[in-house]
């Protein structure tokens, strides 16, 4: 057992897979010699050398194209897009090429690649470098989408993503890189499509993803201490595949549903889950499902504005308490 930061876990997760499988390669902008702009890949270049760990030109399309070519010809590339906002400039690969090739070639080509990317707000990067865009990818048939919230999950889900035969988009949260967590020694392999109940409770189910998981947990402790409300917090972890079994099971016990989403309100992942719960578990609900999200705005760069735009622990706790008491 060791205490690792989220950013150290990224490097360890990649290293675990590169050491296991010589077909795994890794590249991106400033990821090799510089160890990544977020210092999440420090040491990989030294450990695995310039053939398997490469710096690329500043061209997201080139990075994605190289990754796809490598994947189609037998390698298992991990490619980094520094900010997930930049998906917009290489979205043809993400939406049209990676997820469609296997289907359109009737299985003659495969695309076993992982795109790692820094996602989310909280670091004063402004409207074009702070977005939560997991829903951009969730809506594309053929992609798998994960977003871990702890160092341990980073390693386990990275392994699952690399070993998956299809393209996986791996969202790392920029504001979690410095967060520490306990990580067991040895190989860690998780499964895609599994949510985790991270705090059991009886009064409501609270779904959260990435940075919103620690905030939901803090809100849960607050509600328990101040109001005796026991909420169950579920870390969704994987948007595609989506673990509705765990989510519906939790709603079946608590009968109330809340989602805590960093994405802007419209078409956030919580909307999809609420719609599925309304379909499948309508008669388990004892009140309306409630989504707690960032408003539908471009994110401000000013620290005080960015802080109140995202769901805060205070807002999460208050919204849940009001909805349960109303």
């Amino acid at each position: 057992m060791a205490e690792l930061t989220y950013r150290e876990a990224v490097a360890r997760g990649i290293a675990q897979e590169m050491a296991r499988d010589p077909d795994v390669i890794f590249f991106g902008e400033d990821v090799a010699k510089a160890g990544g702009v977020f210092k999440a890949t420090v040491g990989l270049y030294e450990q695995f050398g310039p053939k398997r760990v490469r710096d690329t030109p500043i061209s997201e399309q080139a990075i994605m194209g190289a990754a796809m070519g490598a994947a189609m010809t037998g390698l298992k590339p991990i490619a980094e897009i520094m900010f997930s906002d930049f998906f917009a400039v290489c979205f043809d690969y993400i939406a049209n090429e990676f997820p469609k090739g296997r289907y359109m070639s009737n299985g003659q080509t495969k695309c076993p690649l992982v795109v790692r990317t820094g996602n989310g707000a909280g670091s004063r990067f402004g409207a074009q470098h702070s977005q939560s865009v997991e829903n951009w990818c969730m809506m594309v048939p053929g992609l798998k989408v994960v977003a871990p919230s702890t160092p341990r999950d980073v390693i386990g889900l990275m392994a699952a993503a690399v070993r998956d035969p299809d393209p996986v988009i791996f969202f790392e949260h920029k504001s979690l890189y410095a967060v520490k967590g306990e990580v067991p020694d040895g190989e860690i392999v998780d499964t895609l499509g599994s949510a985790k109940v991270v705090r059991p409770g009886t009064d409501a189910t609270v779904l959260a993803l990435a940075l919103m998981v620690p905030r939901a947990l803090a809100a849960a402790e607050k509600l328990a201490a101040a109001h005796g409300i026991q909420v169950e917090v579920v870390d969704v972890r994987s948007l595609v595949p989506l673990d509705m079994q765990t989510i519906l099971g939790s709603v079946g016990r608590t009968h109330r549903l809340f989602t805590v989403e960093e994405n802007p309100r419209l078409c956030g992942w919580g909307a999809e889950i609420v719609s599925i719960v309304a379909d499948e578990a309508f008669y388990d609900l004892d009140g309306p499902p409630v989504r707690i999200t960032t408003p539908h705005i471009p994110l401000p760069a000013a620290d005080n504005l960015e802080d109140i735009a995202l769901p805060t622990v205070e807002r999460i706790a208050q919204t849940i308490r009001r909805a349960l008491e109303a």
Binding site: P241, L242, S250, G252, Y283, D284, L285
Partner: protein
């Protein structure tokens, strides 16, 4: 898949399983009969809607279960599916069972049934879970106190009502006390069947909650008897000499009441708690004595049907009740009821309203009675005493009197019913 006690009519709250056609471990396919149930209205066979193996039968023959309760569990095609009860004994806090491999990106499974509207007639709103629990526990939400915001009924309110609810029927009388009064006398005890219990509950409810009043009148049947005799005498006969119909006085009464309600449409209405619901069609329920109680088959839109058609329909309903093939829906929803005890020689009586209806007509025996003629002489007419019972919340005295007058007119001018 859970097999639920089906809803066999709006007012049916429970039923008795009288027979299982399948045993635990048996394979079933859609359409295979699973069990037979008896309610206060009817009995019927319930088929499977799915393919699988019966993993558990929860309700034995003879048990009374509320509508919506789980009576059996059918497991998927796999033969060795463990029963729910056994599984939950093994794990402390089982999640609701969900099939493996659920893939919400391909399809979702909407609930297999509905549990009633969110907004109740009283204006209160019930949460989806509250509605489901109410149906599963046989609780009427209109009587449940709401504790949620904006008058919302929540699951906890249904739970409170369930624990507080007294079992039916109103048990002010205890069997032991009654038996003590007759100590030493031989007697036989008759357990209540579902029909008897429903009669007890509903008529107590009617007498305690409906403000009844009665309006009686004498009605002459001379002309009607003349037409009836002529019609029956002129009926076509089949090869064996059997007439194609034989009209009873009651058939004419149903028609006359239907026509009278069309003349006085404000009385063709029922009480719905916070409002009155008025109907265009005259749907006449007819009280029919059957072994062990009575049923009230309904002749829909009787004002549009000939007396011969009404007669045939009533005979058909009665025959199907004897065969136990009557759908309970055919015995509910009338806008009024006729109860005729004339054939027993009863001179006159008053009937108890069948809620939510607002009127019921009690018909006594027609007999030869002396009346004064306009010139001061005396003659005998065929005359019966009829009595309307009215719910004053819907039908005031003058309105009831107009309905009675319209009915009397229709019976005494029966040619108008024919044309």
């Amino acid at each position: 898949m859970n097999v639920l006690m089906p809803q066999l009519g709006e007012t049916v709250a429970e039923g008795t399983i009288t027979r299982w056609f399948k045993a635990e471990g048996d394979k079933v396919a859609p359409g295979d009969n699973l069990f037979e149930i008896e309610t206060d209205k009817t009995s019927m066979e319930v088929p499977s809607t799915t393919t699988g193996v019966i993993s558990e039968i929860r309700t034995p023959v003879g048990a009374v279960v509320p509508v919506g309760a789980i009576v059996a569990v059918i497991a998927g095609d796999g033969a060795a599916a463990p029963s729910l009860a056994k599984a939950s004994a093994a794990t402390a806090a089982p999640a609701p069972s969900r099939p493996e491999g659920l893939d919400p990106f391909r399809a979702v499974r909407t609930p297999e049934r509905n549990y009633g509207p969110a907004r109740l007639p009283s204006g209160a709103v019930a949460s989806p879970l509250a509605r489901r629990l109410a149906v599963e526990n046989g609780i009427d939400l209109t009587g449940v106190r709401a504790s949620g915001a904006h008058g919302r009924i929540l699951a906890r309110d249904v739970e409170n009502a369930r624990t507080a609810a007294a079992p039916m029927p109103p048990a002010a009388v205890s069997a032991d006390r009654v038996k003590a009064l007759y100590e030493g006398r031989p007697y036989e005890e008759v357990p209540l069947d579902p029909m008897r219990r429903t009669i007890a509950t509903r008529l107590v409810e009617a007498m305690q909650t409906v403000p009844h009043f009665h309006l009686g009148a004498d009605v002459d049947f001379d002309r009607l008897e003349e037409i009836r005799a002529g019609a029956n005498g002129g009926a076509f006969t089949d090869a064996e000499g059997k007439p194609s119909f034989r009209l009873t006085v009651n058939d004419f009464i149903v028609k006359a009441l239907a026509v009278a309600l069309q003349r006085v449409p404000d009385a063709n209405a029922v009480w719905a708690g916070d409002r009155i619901i008025k109907f265009a069609a005259s749907d006449i329920a007819v009280a029919v004595a059957v072994e062990g109680g009575l049923i009230t088959p309904v002749v829909r839109s009787a004002e549009t049907k000939s007396v011969i058609a009404i007669s045939a329909e009533l005979k058909n309903l009665a025959a199907r009740d004897r065969d136990r093939t009557l759908d309970p829906r055919e015995t509910q929803g009338g806008t009024t009821t006729v109860s005729n005890l004339g054939m027993y020689g009863v001179r006159e009586f008053t009937a108890i309203i069948n809620p939510p209806q607002s009127t019921i007509l009690a018909v006594g025996a027609a007999g030869r009675r002396p009346v004064e003629t306009p010139d001061g002489g005396l003659r005998f007419v065929s005359r019966a005493t009829v009595t309307f019972t009215c719910d004053h919340r819907v039908v005031d005295g003058a309105l009831g009197a107009r309905l009675l007058a319209a009915f009397k007119h229709a019976i005494e001018h029966p040619i108008a019913l024919m044309l």
